[in-house]
Amino acid sequence: MQSNLNTSSIIALLKKEFLLEFRQKTSLASILLYVLSIVFISFLSFKSGIKPDVWGALFWLVLFFAGINAASKSFFTESKARSIYNYTLYHPTEFVISKIIYNIVLLWVVCLCSVLTFGWMISFPVQNVLLFVLTLLLGSAALGGSLTLMSCIASKTGNSYSVMSLLSMPVCIPVMLLSLRLTKNAIDGLDWLVSYKYLGGLFIIDVIIISLSLFLFRYLWKE
């Protein structure tokens, strides 16, 4: 397959995604509502206060499931007719690049909202904020890349959401574990030297996930 990637069509696809998102505000609103209600429930369940390491675990669990919610929409909403129209216009790699970028940006928005709701309702115990932000950026990029591919796989099975979360959970475990450890380091305010190798590991996983998604998507796309 020759690679005649066209930047303008990637930008056109991205524009379409974001326009759709702004026009039908329900999808973004539903994710934010999901985050808000789950944070409120955790606030009610941990009345005596949340310890810092529990905070990290809770944060990533909320982010993971909100991410599944967000990314699952990226292929389930594509109708048969529109997919066929897309086949004629775009190269699969262009298509998947736009989906991955869109999902990563969406996850960053979800991250921001979760941080705000957590800080507002529960607490914000992070001492090394820069490390935490880096972890969020890298970790949600990895989640975005793998969830895009899993969403496409799940959309082929017919029954969508439960399969989507089942498919994503085992492949996201390494990302989750590394992010959790980095978050814990950020909360404890440990020295940067301790965290470099984990950041490196997370970055390597990012690169692996995104290049695998780019490589494998062309086999999923067409019927």
Binding site: S146, L149, I153, K156, T157, G158, N159, V163, L166, L167, M169, P170, V171, I173, P174, L177, L178, R181, K197, Y198, G201, I204, I205, I208, I209, L212, S213, L216, Y219, L220, E223
Partner: protein, 226 residues
């Protein structure tokens, strides 16, 4: 003799490793004591599983390069055989852990986490295959998941233990290699044949299952596989 010598070798090696594993001499070590014999059973089962997972991954790639159904059959059967070897592997490990670590499952060991993650991956793979009715779609989608998931678990098993070197496994300093086990030369004389024997056994099982599935496919679809 040309075709089945390796099956004889598999039986001979496995029988030899079981007999010598139970009656052979082992070094006396603290805590491990006689449980060190588990090395002859637990570790080779994992090696056989990893071999099958590797075969499954390789043929998933071959399948995507040309869409020949025979590669999908081989790839999926290897995944099933891998699962069959993972179960006794995890049971022998748990029994061993009960007598050395005090608990069948401990929290903070990267190897256990990696094993659980890879078993989950392959259970989800079987589920995915069961959910898609059409043979070609099933083959394509599950091959993609197989390749993605195998690389993710490989990353997990190879990179994560090096980052978090707190494995409780014997002879471990964050390195999943087995050169540092507390083995003497007598143990190696049993351990390596045991690995060979169980890997050959798994290949034999794969061979049988693969032929069965091919016949099944021919009966169901009335077409030859080439």
């Amino acid at each position: 003799m040309k075709h089945w010598w390796w099956k004889i070798a598999a039986i001979a090696l496995v029988v030899y490793s079981i007999v010598m594993g139970l009656i052979g001499n082992v070094p006396r070590l603290d805590i491990l004591n006689e449980t060190i014999r588990n090395l002859y059973f637990h570790v080779p089962l994992w090696f056989a599983m990893l071999t099958q997972m590797g075969i499954s991954w390789f043929f998933a790639l071959r399948y995507l390069n040309g869409y020949h159904i025979k590669y999908d059959i081989l790839s999926s059967r290897a995944a099933y055989v891998g699962g069959m070897f993972a179960l006794p592997g995890i049971i022998t490990g748990s029994v061993w852990a009960t007598y050395t670590w005090g608990k069948p499952w401990v929290a903070d060991d990267p190897k256990l986490q990696g094993v659980m993650a890879s078993m989950l991956v392959y259970f989800v793979y079987y589920l995915l295959r069961a959910l898609i009715p059409d043979a070609q779609t099933k083959a394509r989608i599950s091959a993609v998941y197989n390749i993605f998931a195998f690389i993710m678990t490989f990353v997990f098993i190879m990179i994560y233990p090096r980052l978090a070197p707190n494995s409780l496994h014997p002879g471990n300093g964050g390195n999943p290699a087995f050169g540092k086990y507390d083995m003497d030369n007598g143990m190696r004389m049993v351990f390596y044949p045991a690995c060979m024997g169980w890997i050959l056994m798994s290949v034999w099982l794969l061979n049988v299952l693969n032929r069965m599935k091919k016949l099944q496919y021919k009966l169901d679809n009335h077409e030859e596989i080439n």
